[in-house]
């Protein structure tokens, strides 16, 4: 059992939970994830470790309320428990002084980008954070991002904050603005379509781009292969070989189709639960 220490809303439909998990907090590194199960009949779902506090023995997750598991998670209160939680899984992100690094985050993926920004900055890299949201209301953690970024660029789809448009628009401008700031590496974390767009863009500039994949998973420990992804024509397991991969080699079309494998089942499951449990005792 894993106790929730704090849980609160960051933006509509986006929550932050701080969970007591001392073993995981003791070992977590930027880029790793956990698998949780919110009830004894629930699914195992992967979530990126958004932050950790070794001294307090806690880890943070930031999640969007999408399906039944995240709806149940959002209903938990401080002191409530998550029955099953496993981690830290996956390989830590590569760290070092990589020169000027553009870290591109989209939506809830920004929470996953945060520990990478923090660790890269501490490792000596210069960080240009590019964060994209649907709208000003969806923004969160910009203070935390600012703290570890040498510059922070924001885009919103509706133009309510920062540049109107997508993260790729901001990145393109940065890349075309030659001479001022040469970008040595790009890291992209967010929805698959965003990571694909970033990788497609940087391919033209022959610019090394790392993406952190959010594949479907069951075990998260190399036993089932649900998370397999084609990278450079070869099948990889996201949980064992990733979650970070060379964005120019990832077969995003396949990744996105696989992410949609159970769209129908997930919808039915959530609807049934909402019908039976919404407002009722839990």
């Amino acid at each position: 059992m894993f106790k929730i220490k704090e849980i609160y809303t960051l933006a509509p439909g986006t929550l932050h939970a701080i969970i007591e998990a001392p073993l995981i907090a003791g070992k977590a590194e930027a880029g790793q994830f956990i698998i949780i199960r919110t009830s004894s009949k629930g699914e195992r779902i992967p979530l990126t470790i958004a932050d950790y506090d070794r001294a307090q023995g806690t880890i943070s997750i930031v999640f969007q309320v999408l399906g039944k598991s995240t709806t149940q998670l959002a209903a938990l209160k401080p002191g409530g428990v998550i029955p099953d939680l496993l981690g830290p899984q996956g390989n830590p992100s590569e760290m070092g002084n990589f020169g000027n690094v553009a870290v591109v985050g989209g939506g809830v993926g920004i929470a996953a980008a945060y520990p990478i920004v923090k660790s890269l900055k501490n490792a000596g890299s210069r960080i240009i954070s590019i964060n994209g949201f649907r709208s000003r209301d969806n923004m969160f953690w910009m203070d935390k991002m600012e703290k570890f970024s040498d510059s922070l660029l924001i885009s919103t789809n509706d133009g309510s904050c920062g540049r109107k448009g997508f993260v790729t628009d901001v990145l393109r401008e940065l890349l075309d603005n030659k001479g001022e700031e040469r970008i040595d590496r790009v890291i992209a974390i967010g929805p698959a379509i965003m990571m694909k767009s970033v990788a497609d863009l940087t391919r033209n500039y022959n610019l090394k781009t790392i993406v952190s994949l959010n594949s479907l998973m069951v075990c998260g420990m190399g036993m089932c292969g649900a998370c397999r992804v084609t990278v450079g024509g070869k099948t990889n397991f996201t949980c064992m070989d990733g979650p970070d991969f060379d964005g120019h080699l990832v077969d995003f079309k396949e990744l996105m189709m696989r992410l949609d494998s159970y769209k129908h089942e997930e919808k039915t499951c959530l609807e049934k639960w909402n019908r039976e449990c919404a407002g009722g005792p839990q």
Binding site: K41, E43, L86, V218, M221, R228, D260
Partner: protein
């Protein structure tokens, strides 16, 4: 009285009924059936059956106890060497082990040792609540006992833990999944090994002091070094051969194509067959192709049938004669209407516009020269491609060692294929670290892993004293 040359057949659910439920297929012996079968044992002096048993159960002795209708004594005898008889009585390939050496088998059927073991074990599970202190069950753990960590709660880990606890050590079993049991809970289907049986056996280990810690990823949350840092004086690694193989052919990552591990984990561990009650989804294909001819392939095929598939095919590249599955398993599959397509192998999969598999292209095979395994190797027949409609594929072509611990433990010596190297005492290249089961041998059987767990427990005890 003339001895019966024929085994007392175990009653089974009818094929037509059982594909509509998840209940166990073989129903077990009644007391009278068990006694009749036990009378077929001639109690020969040389006891060849024991030599065939990877955990060396005193087989003739427990059979004699059944003949004397002293079932409590029978189970006590079994428990001396086997902590999990209700499981091995169901899943051991007895026909290749104890039973193939049985003296009675020379003039008729061998004694159905597995059925008798299962009978005694089931009797014990049923009666345990009323008589919890049955004889040879391991005693209370001495508080002074040294601490031993067991990594992985599959057959190797469970039997190692049971023996160590029996010797007085304080044992903690670490499991990554949320439930202990390893392949017994994620891999073997309910209709072959009811999960309530696995739970009872694990409850028993807990009741005599084995501590289970689920949701702990050894190698990541705790390294092997960390375990020693926590006061454990020896570690047994029994993490199994869990990494599924794929064939690396075009289209293999289409939606609806699973490894057998994923398909069975969804259904068995995550209970996807109870749609509406449990959240984990699984595909209910109409035309399901299972690739492979082993026990896991049979489990997957029979599971797909119970998920209401119209057609389930086993696609195997050799002939039925070379199939690695137990005869009982392939017989059960055939009775349930699984269609066997032998001397064929897929070469590519084709998908629809949403990325779901819709058909596969196979090549016909013929048998050539024997390969390293001694079986004749399949050779593709040129130009023999044929297409099959399929909306779900389950790839059951074996698995390799789980790499998490080996990748995160320096100095742990491995074979080229990732198996952990141990000596004849199950010692790895790191002092105090032992290993056994599939992580050492590659994928094998439940009881072989249990045998390794037992022998490792003995070595660990020698090491600690």
């Amino acid at each position: 009285m003339a001895r019966n040359n024929k085994q007392i057949a175990m009653r089974e659910q009818k094929p037509s009924e059982r594909t509509g439920n998840w209940n166990e297929v073989p129903l077990g012996y009644s007391l009278e059936e068990a006694v009749l079968e036990s009378e077929r044992c001639i109690q020969c002096k040389n006891k060849p059956c024991i030599a065939g048993c990877p955990v060396s159960i005193e087989i003739p002795d427990f059979i004699k106890a059944i003949r004397d209708r002293d079932i409590k004594k029978a189970i006590d005898i079994i428990h001396e060497n086997n902590a999990l008889p209700a499981i091995t009585g169901r899943v051991c390939p007895q026909e290749e082990q104890c039973q193939c050496l049985c003296t009675a088998g020379k003039i008729g059927d061998p004694v159905s040792i597995g059925s008798l073991e299962r009978f005694a074990a089931d009797w014990d599970l049923e009666n345990r609540l009323t008589a919890p202190e049955t004889g040879n069950r391991p005693g209370v753990i001495t508080p002074a006992g040294k601490m031993v960590a067991v990594v992985g709660s599959g057959p190797a880990g469970l039997s190692c833990a049971a023996d160590l606890a029996r010797m007085g050590y304080r044992v903690t079993v670490f499991e990554g999944y949320h439930k202990p049991g390893g392949v017994l809970v994620y891999g073997i289907p309910e209709f072959r090994l009811p999960k309530s049986i696995v739970k009872s056996e694990i409850d028993m280990l807990e009741s005599f002091g084995v501590n289970f810690m689920t949701n702990v990823l050894i190698g990541r949350a705790l390294t092997i070094n960390d375990i020693f840092g926590r006061g454990f004086e020896a570690v047994f690694i029994g993490t199994g051969a869990g990494l599924p193989n794929f064939m690396n052919i075009p289209g293999e990552n289409l939606n609806g194509i699973y490894s057998a591990n994923e398909f069975l984990t969804r259904v068995n561990l995550m209970k996807a067959y109870l749609t509406g009650e449990y959240d984990t989804p699984v595909r209910h294909g109409r035309n399901v192709a299972v690739i492979g001819g082993g026990n896991v392939a049979m489990d997957a095929a029979r599971t797909a049938k119970r998920l209401d598939a119209e057609n389930v095919y086993i696609i195997y590249r050799r002939t039925e004669k070379e199939m690695p599955a137990r005869i009982e398993e392939s017989r059960h599959a055939m009775e349930e209407g699984i269609q066997f397509i032998t001397l064929a192998s897929p070469v590519m999969y084709e998908g629809d516009e949403h990325g779901f598999v819709k058909s596969m292209v196979c090549l016909r095979m013929e048998l050539g020269e024997p390969d390293q395994s001694g079986r004749r190797s399949p050779v593709p027949v040129k130009g023999s491609e044929f297409r099959m409609e399929t909306d779900e594929v389950i790839v059951a072509v074996g698995s390799t060692p789980n790499p998490i611990i080996s990748r995160t433990t320096k100095d742990l010596k491995l074979k080229k294929n990732g198996d952990i190297i141990v000596d004849d005492k199950f010692r790895t290249s790191i002092k105090g670290v032992f290993a056994g089961g599939d992580i050492v041998t590659g994928a094998a059987t439940v009881v072989t892993a249990m045998g390794a767990g037992r022998m490792a427990a003995k070595s660990i005890s020698e090491y600690l004293n």
